[in-house]
């Protein structure tokens, strides 16, 4: 039997913002090629965990390791180390506005490859291919901050996919999107990830979890409350209620009115 290599290993990681704990001894392992969903209510630590995985901040306690090497601030003072990591691990922020800071969509998508020191010809070719893949070639010369919410998300995704990273970290990728844009974005993520890519998505939209993840971690108050397959997690109503991910849903069948937890599994609910 071949051992599955882990790409991220988080051990007892703690982090706090100005004295307010965001992560409390969180531990988890992410294997290469896995599609992971981090689900949890607002403030459960999903975004903080993604930032730790992207080495934008470092744990105050515990460790976060990438391919067996602990991520530390000292290591990231070396240019070659940082560039190599940023090339392999990319993060799409929840708010696309903070991620789009170039005058045109083309410049935006070209920003990452330029930082990596790619040649001009490579950058141009790769950016054009990515714009085509994402279906945003028509936005090439538009100013990113003038785009619609769905278009901004696509550009934000294109701006990291252009690097063809091994790991894609997505923070609430479908928030603020209309149903059609949401569905298109999920299709794009599925199309991109293939077999060798690792995708970690933080979300509290349970209805997309089965489509984007084969393993789910439920985060509650900065630590992992449960983990399992999407089907296992979504069918555990008590767990989801406890983690504030579902609410009581009251409705009527003919003359009978009843309530049950509002689940988002693809299965029909049982009465």
């Amino acid at each position: 039997m071949t051992a599955v290599s882990s790409i991220f290993e988080v051990q007892s990681a703690s982090f706090e913002y100005e004295g307010i704990p965001a992560l409390r001894g969180l531990s988890l392992t992410i294997d290469r090629g896995q599609s992971i969903a981090l689900v949890g209510a607002n403030g459960s630590g999903k975004s903080t965990l993604l930032r730790l995985l992207n080495a934008l901040c470092f744990p105050s306690g515990g460790t976060v390791s990438f391919c067996g090497d602990p991520l530390t601030a000292e290591k990231f003072r070396t240019v070659s180390c940082e560039i190599s990591f940023r090339r392999r691990v990319a993060l799409v922020f929840q708010n696309p506005d903070v991620q789009l800071f170039n005058p045109t969509v083309f410049d935006e998508v070209a920003f990452g490859p330029l930082q990596m020191g790619w040649s001009t010809a490579d950058v141009v070719t790769r950016v054009d291919e990515t714009l085509q893949l994402m279906g945003i070639t028509h936005l090439r010369d538009r100013a990113p901050y003038r785009l619609s919410g769905g278009e901004k998300k696509r550009v934000a995704l294109a701006s990291v996919i252009v690097l063809d990273p091994e790991v894609l970290l997505l923070d609430e990728p479908t928030s603020m999107l209309d149903p059609r844009s949401q569905s298109q974005l999920i299709d794009l993520i599925q199309q991109w990830k293939g077999s060798s890519k690792t995708v970690v998505t933080a979300t509290h939209q349970l209805e997309i979890v089965e489509d984007i993840a084969d393993r789910v971690f439920v985060l509650e108050q900065g630590s992992v409350a449960a983990s399992g397959s999407a089907r296992e997690i979504l069918s555990d109503a008590d767990l989801l209620l406890r983690a504030n991910l579902v609410h009581a849903h009251r409705h009527t069948h003919g003359a009978m009115t009843h309530s049950h937890p509002h689940l988002h599994s693809h299965d029909e609910h049982k009465h």
Binding site: N54, D97, V98, F101, P103, F111, G112
Partner: protein, 272 residues
């Protein structure tokens, strides 16, 4: 003024600020005199002229440099209307207020005295005020031309070519990106406020509302600036500006640079 008008005016102002940025990018991509030069020539040449303006003590020389700036603007497809509304009127208003006391306080030969003899304008005072206004008008016009005719990332890269510290350039890069986010956030906050405001607010109520909005905006700005920086860092940004177009000096650029420097040196010499 009703609260609706105050908020409406603020919204229009914010929308205009965002629109200006878009116009700047469009102007920078048009063919024109300044646009034809290497960005380093534009930065060195125009900032050299700004230095000459500040070092000149003769009003005729400063006015000549202002005329040169207007000529450069016309040859670079920058409309005079843009300069009038974005530079000249604004500078006249703010610098005029600062220069006004000099008219009356500078000792010298009176050229106008009020009927009761209480106030008098001196020739020296008028010259000082005029020189101050002309200097600021010329300097701001030249700087505006640089920003209008050069994409911001090119300005930053050119600054790095002149060994401006990486930290300063990074600060400018962040400020430029961040200011639009802030303007957009402020615009949304005012819009939301307008949608929930009924009737006319009194002066103190308006001031309180503005102060509260400014406070919230400041808190949001700290968070936003941090996120914008992290987003740049996440894609490999380490403070060095890297853009697609490589800067290359051609004969035309050397001619332009020489012309700018000759004009600047002449202006300093004649205006001493």
């Amino acid at each position: 003024m009703s609260s609706d008008r105050t908020i409406g005016a603020t919204l229009v102002g914010l929308a205009r600020a965002l629109g200006h940025a878009l116009v700047s990018e469009q102007v920078a991509r048009q063919p024109g005199l300044l646009q034809a030069f290497d960005p380093r020539v534009r930065v060195a040449g125009l900032l050299g002229l700004v230095l000459a303006v500040t070092l000149s003590h003769r009003i005729s020389v400063v006015l000549a440099l202002l005329c040169a700036a207007v000529l450069i603007a016309l040859l670079s497809k920058v409309s005079l209307m843009t300069l009038t509304t974005r530079v000249w009127l604004v500078v006249l208003l703010f610098t005029g207020v600062i220069a006004l006391p000099a008219l009356f306080l500078t000792p010298g030969d009176a050229i106008f005295t009020t009927a009761d003899g209480g106030l008098r304008i001196t020739a020296q005072g008028a010259t000082t005020a005029l020189l101050l206004i002309a200097r600021v008008e010329a300097a701001v016009t030249l700087t505006t031309l640089l920003v209008l005719c050069t994409p911001w990332m090119h300005v930053l890269k050119a600054l790095r070519a002149f060994r401006i510290p990486q930290e300063v350039v990074m600060m400018l890069a962040m400020t430029h990106r961040y200011i639009f986010l802030l303007a957009e956030t402020a615009s949304q906050m005012f819009e939301s406020r307008r949608s929930r405001t009924v009737g006319v607010l009194t002066g103190p109520e308006q001031r309180r509302m503005t102060a509260r909005t400014a406070g919230v905006l400041l808190s949001k700005s700290v968070e936003l600036s941090n996120d914008v920086f992290l987003a740049m860092q996440s894609r490999g940004f380490r403070g060095d500006v890297k853009i697609l177009s490589e800067f290359r000096m051609r004969v035309w650029d050397y001619v332009g640079l020489t012309a700018f420097l000759v004009i600047a040196i002449l202006a300093v010499w004649m205006g001493r």
